[in-house]
Symmetry: C2
Subunit: 122 residues, 2 copies
DNA sequence: CAGTATCCTATCGGATACTG
DNA sequence: CAGTATCCGATAGGATACTG
């Protein structure tokens, strides 16, 4: 079964690393998780991804759109309405990122305990 | 089946978000992927995670150690030898992070094409 | 509403020099 | 070897004000 050129994120010059840098990011993870339920408006994304600023949300969405992970739908209404949704490619990213989010939620107790220990013994 | 307090990374003040910020990070992903093969010395990590600086590698390892994901083993030799390995907790993180790395490698062609399109039509 | 523009601070991260 | 210390430029990201 033929594969294309073998990419490796551990190689500094490999283009796949630029993609890893985008997806291995907390804001990206949260936005993709938020969008997994379906199309969302900008405003709803802002409230769902609690604490994200308009600037960061805009930048994150633009980068995801550029990489083909998110599609942007503009409605010529007044007031304006813009919806975002995961593309088919973006949907393939949902499982790994969701897994990361769930890991954080499920293991936070252990992590907090570890931090306590680490900070305490010193 | 009882669960503890329900943590949610989408909530700004939830402690699990601090953990997500750590693990949803390109350097963290690369270091964990590199360590999945077993114990490694600092120097070998530096060459395996191509392009990482001593400073960033040190900081990443310290943070992972603090969160209980990496164990540090110091040998009182000359020259000194220090080895790092994933803890049991850290090993549970390998699958999701490896998945992210593989995603980047497997989809980089599509991502690059999307960027071309995005940058071109403008 | 869905942004953009601007300003400013904090953190990231590289380069270099030095130590046990 | 495995760091630490320091300096410094680049980027992330918040706050505020403004626009179509």
């Amino acid at each position: 079964m033929p594969q294309g050129p073998d990419f490796n994120v551990l190689t500094a010059t490999c283009p796949s690393r630029t993609s890893l840098a985008r997806i291995a990011n907390k804001w990206t993870a949260m936005v993709v998780i938020a969008l997994s339920g379906g199309r969302m408006r900008f405003r709803d994304l802002r409230t769902t991804v609690d604490g994200i600023s308009a600037k960061v949300l805009t930048e994150t969405l633009r980068d995801l759109e550029r990489d083909g992970l998110v599609a942007r739908h503009v409605y010529a209404e007044m007031p304006p309405r813009v919806e975002y949704e995961l593309t088919p490619l973006g949907r393939t990213l949902h499982t790994p990122l969701q897994a990361l989010g769930r890991w954080a939620e499920e293991h936070i107790t252990e992590v907090l305990a570890a931090r306590e220990t680490y900070d305490g013994r010193r």
